[in-house]
Symmetry: C2
Subunit: 306 residues, 2 copies
């Protein structure tokens, strides 16, 4: 017999997951859920892969700013471009989400959808994490890969619901997570259909279409899935509405927050993090009946290469 | 052996479909397409079910206007409400898409997503088609149901890409078409996440989120599926960009327009229709290598109850 979730410690959280899956998938269970309704949703940054020192897509954005700087001499003294070029992370953090979105618009638009995909794929194939010296797609959590597969083997459909860019994540989600593009939901910019020399193209516009974070996550779930999930997995305060929405349905439900408390094997952060802040979530978890998984105590290993 | 597509006449179109499916799904075919990439997209109104005398969702909208009229005495002399209440279809047609959207905003918003679903379900369970005296969900095309199933048996994933409302279609798509909600894409209004008495709800706003018609269809395909379909089925000029987008990919492709030319068994219309106008599409079909299916000559029967 194949061991279930081998990278998880044989402790309370692993048992809670296995018990929930049995409750909804065993045909003789009084709480049996038909396979079509076994929808599980996962945040991406900090839940399926690392997000330190910053969201990986953010690092891609910074790299694009540097690559395009020659064509934009004005960026040298225009914020938030200047801070990005000078690697002044404190100043950049000060510009917050609005600043990051401005950088996204300047670097992710003005090209076709397929040109963008090529840029992301090239970057993912060559870029390396500054501290861990690994490709970013190696920095996915082995226990979560096992969890995705375990759920699918038990008839679940697994979806990503991420604040990150939908087209960015889709470039690797099938290969790395086994999640096909139609099950990836994320933030997006407006795209426009055009005929160019008799060929149809989708052109990315410098305009936000949807921000799939916080209160946006249940909205995106409803828009893309059209069915309330029965299980949700996140790691930050931005995932609270997604967990509330999931847990508010009838019948058995499972909600989990991943707590980054392992400075040795990964990173330890929660309340004081620029990305992936987890503060209110830890309180809500108690009252809401959500499970908190500790990377330090619940995971035998973090990455597949260990 | 089960007969393939029994409601289709044994003629050129049926053979073209079967040949295409064999080309992409037989493992020994030089043009084999992996199952994950076998995506087929279908328009809904006029392609999977009838759309005369008007889009069925439009008929639902008109019924909602009448139901809400008591609370809105001003509608008696405000257009396009007045025309709707007076059943002045010519005047109403004059207000075009803009008028219809106004009626949608006034009748489909200001309630939660689940309240809206209940309204639609109740209407579909009781309303009957004015000429054919059938429930609307009986007015689905038997040959298209067989085509959906035939494609799925051959490893395809089937999606709806409709100008109609995404939440409207999802109320019956799984039961009637075998298409789960996450594979239904349509037009939508903005929804907002709110906590009401400690319970999370999604509230429908009187604001258009996305119009999934014409140039919007390839955009929606990219947003929801993230992969270019290899087969597309439509029936009106609003489906042209979807067919162009599908056919422009590499490898084997199939595009079909359904021609409503059967006044005896259904309705005959194309160039001069308020809904489902097909004019440029018939020209494009010739130059673009799209297949035109005639309801009169290619279908042995139209509805399942015949």
């Amino acid at each position: 017999m194949i061991e279930t979730l081998p990278s998880w410690c044989d402790a309370w959280v692993k048992n809670a997951i296995a018990e929930f899956v049995a409750r909804v998938s065993r045909e003789d269970s009084p709480e049996f859920v038909p396979p079509a309704e076994r929808v599980a949703v996962f945040d991406n940054d900090g839940t399926l892969w690392s997000e330190q020192p910053f969201y990986f897509q953010g690092l891609f954005v910074f790299e694009r700013v540097r690559a395009l700087a020659e064509k934009h001499p004005e960026w040298k003294n225009t914020q938030p471009f200047q801070a990005t070029l000078e690697r002044d992370w404190n100043a950049l953090a000060g510009f917050g989400e609005k600043g990051l979105l401005e950088l996204v618009m300047a670097t992710h638009a003005g090209m076709t959808a397929s040109e963008f995909v090529s840029l992301v794929k090239d970057w993912l194939a060559s870029a390396r994490h500054p501290q861990l010296d690994r490709q970013y797609t190696e920095l996915v959590y082995q226990p979560m890969l096992e969890l995705l597969e375990y759920l699918r083997v038990n008839g679940f459909k697994t979806f990503i619901i991420s604040g990150g860019g939908i087209e960015f994540i889709r470039t690797f989600s099938e290969r790395v997570y086994g999640i096909p593009p139609e099950q990836v939901v994320g933030s997006s910019i407006v795209t426009k259909f055009e005929m160019r020399e008799g060929k149809p193209v989708l052109v990315r516009q410098a305009q936000l279409n949807f921000l799939d974070d916080r209160e946006g996550k249940p909205v995106a779930i409803n828009q893309h899935i059209g069915r309330r999930p029965i299980a949700a997995f996140g790691n930050s305060d931005g995932d609270i509405p997604m967990l509330q929405w999931t847990l508010a349905g009838d019948g058995p439900r499972f909600g989990m927050l991943l707590h980054h408390d392992d400075a040795e094997r990964e990173f330890a952060y929660d309340r004081h993090s620029a990305s992936g802040r987890l503060d209110r979530g830890l309180q809500e978890a108690e009252s809401g009946g959500w499970t908190v998984a500790s990377m330090k105590h619940d995971w035998q290993r973090v990455f597949g290469f260990e």
